[in-house]
Amino acid sequence: MTGPLIEDLLRELAPQVLGVLVRRHGQFDDCEDAVQEAVLAAAVQWPAEGVPRNPRGWLLTVATRRLIDQLRSDRARREREEATAHEVVPEEVPDTDDTLLLLFLCCHPTLTAASQTALTLRAVGGLTTAEIARAFLVPEATMAARISRAKQRIRAAGSSFAPPAGAERAERLRVVLQVLYLIFNEGYTASSGSRLHRPDLAREAIRLTRAVHAQLPADGEVTGLLALMLLTHARRAARTTPQGDLVPLAEQDRGRWDREMLDEGTGLAKASLGAPELGPYQVQAAIAATHADAPTAAQTDWRQVQALYLILERIAPNPMVTLNRAVALAETAGPRAGLDLLAGLAADPRLAGHHRLLSVRAHLLERAGEPAAAYEDYRRAARATASLAEQRYLERRAGRVRPAG
């Protein structure tokens, strides 16, 4: 087995081994350290000496020994830990839903979203601190400090490995999905910087969401989120020019969309609508599926998109949703109708001066035959964004409607 294959194997096994350790010993932070060390040892030994017959058992044994070494320094615990050290390690790690439990733990409500994301990628995604630091463009030391703080905070909060129950469980699952979506979005559209995509992060988010979906296939929102990610990710190749410039949905070469991924996403989106309750991810997936269904931008079923945004506005009201509905409305009822809807949004402090509001208004003004006003909004939108790719796109649009003289 070669290096990259071993890396994939380790990424897959690390969370499973961590799950067993935490289940057996509690103390997430110590267990996590022990698993990281075992993975490190495997990454050094396996390429040289070959992958052991039972890699999971090997990792579990080494991690357990590391953990016991750590715990031994605590004299009060010595006796009990001696006994554990002599325990025979089972050949196979039991096949339980540890991934979900780990996700629940990493998405602990006492952590900030940034820490939840980092911890999820390390403990469940199996990414190293260096990889996570690279993905978020921060030094390794910065990311290491953040992860270790997060682990301390989980410990201080007295977390047990018991899965949350009832309403708390539903609430925690909501946070888990939000963190996975956050990871996906950071990979899909980096919030700032020169590169528009960080496909590794998007792929990792899809992989983790698949794992959750495998355990909760009947949950409409989990299915909806996976569908939304696949439908969005399928457009990746068509979203940018070779120079890295942004290509809007209407101008994308749909032949470059990943058909297989779209079909899978569309299937999941449809399946998710059968769930007893309807949530925002399901509706967003349905919108993305409507776009995927259209062979050309002109053939998009805008009435359906507009109707779906109305539903989304009702179940998850948010000015950004209304903004998107204005785009759909403009397609069915003309740019004036869209602009009227935007007029009501301008006063919302969450959107005032936001580059999305400015750029949508600029588009609609351009279509309504008001190039001078469109030019002003394109320029203001370009100044307000923190993404270089978006700024270039908006400046180019502004150049097309620049008033003479």
């Binding site: 900030t112 820490s115 978020f136 030094p139 030391a141 703080r149 919030s191 700032s192 923190a386 993404s387």
Partner: protein, 123 residues
């Protein structure tokens, strides 16, 4: 999200401070840096030499021309910066408010988001 918190100093204001006040600013920055490291929000910080040590470089007719002194005819100059990685702009502002300079008339603290990065951190 990454932000630069830039520190704009007025050398005359700094000179007018007592030794105790100067020491308090230094200690305040030290504590601030430790806190940022512990929270994982510090990327790096750099302090710049006094603006009187600056050189302005221009190229005229293909020839470089170097003159002493800062570029701006201003009272306040860039004294240094913090490059941080934090949750959002509100958090960056909250952090900036903890910098001792922010409490002193004549010293300015400015927060702006980073739009493009290259170099070691992009590796």
């Amino acid at each position: 999200m990454k932000f630069v918190i830039s520190l704009h100093i007025n050398p005359a204001v700094l000179d007018a401070l007592t030794d105790e006040e100067k020491a308090a600013i230094g200690a305040g920055h030290g504590a601030f840096i430790e806190e940022l490291k512990a929270s994982g929000e510090l990327i790096l910080t750099q302090a710049l030499v006094d603006p009187s040590q600056a050189a302005v470089v221009t190229v005229r007719g293909g020839q470089p021309v170097v003159t002493d002194g800062p570029f701006l005819e201003a009272k306040e100059f860039l004294g240094g910066f913090y490059l941080i990685d934090c949750e959002d702009k509100e958090r960056a502002i909250e952090l900036a408010a903890r910098i001792p300079d922010a409490a002193i008339q004549g010293l300015g603290v400015e927060v702006r988001q980073v739009m493009f990065s290259d170099g070691q951190l992009e590796a």
